[in-house]
Symmetry: C2
Amino acid sequence: MELLKRKIENEGRVLSNHVLKVDSFLNHQVDPELMVEIGKEFAQRFKNEGVTKVLTIESSGIAPGLITALNLSVPVIFARKRKSLTLVDGLITSTVHSFTKNETNEISISNQYIIPGDRVLIIDDFLANGQAALGLVDIVKKAEAEMIGIGIVIEKSFQEGANLLRNEGFRVESLARIESLENGRVTFLQEAEATIL
Amino acid sequence: MELLKRKIENEGRVLSNHVLKVDSFLNHQVDPELMVEIGKEFAQRFKNEGVTKVLTIESSGIAPGLITALNLSVPVIFARKRKSLTLVDGLITSTVHSFTKNETNEISISNQYIIPGDRVLIIDDFLANGQAALGLVDIVKKAEAEMIGIGIVIEKSFQEGANLLRNEGFRVESLARIESLENGRVTFLQEAEATIL
């Protein structure tokens, strides 16, 4: 998605060989117009799959997840990272380790909102080690719903998550695929390579 | 906002005299079409105020905040409840106590995204004791930006937050104002009363 790549080039900050900061438009300050385009693009790619629910995880997945759901005319559910006192019964839970934050969270959704028969599209902002996505996949399985695919705004292709999910047979659609953050520069996978990989 | 009130009547669950659960459409599963209407309504009410930034707080403020910002053609910033390892320098922070979760969080934003001269509209899902809104107001003040107003999806008018904020002189626009949750029923403030209060 060219618009997104230009935004990453212009506003992304490479903090290390593994960390790209995009908090001016994606995960702290959010550019609503960009979210509209991102949501349209995900919806376009999955429009023929009969998606009934979009599943994402708080907090940075909510903006792209919401607009994707809007364009698919389905609800979006965001998994929570800790238990809330007003949401205790009937939880489906999984565990997610965040390498960025160096902490392990329980993530959960209410078992009312993803049910057997649902066709679930997972949306998240970043794919790095794949832990968040795998936790969401685990929740979909526990809900006995069907996994349709995974939409990722920014995939760090040099980390293991993308291969891990594709090797499990999941359709992963990433709008920007980053080959490397070395030398303080963002290098995207070229389209031809991206098709082969 | 009638559409929202009907949704609360049909899907909200009164768990106690103080707790209304609306996680089927607002703060766990989210109804994207309803968010579009909510965002339009907030934008309509504040359209002549020269808003330059929408400020909200993770996680449940993000969906209404995003669509409001989209309709005002400005960015939205969501305050985070804990420090992230990739977001440490240049934070503006405040403290928020959540009575629902019985915990105190530090909330923070990067000082890059709200700056002197900004005209800030705060958006949040619920107004109860007003702690989250006051924390956000505190951040706007520390950023030396201008407070334009506060847009609330559901105001529990029988708790202290609404009066507290209005007594401080802030313009508070709430799309649904709840007078009482007693006897397991949602009673809305009548329009006439709402105008007087």
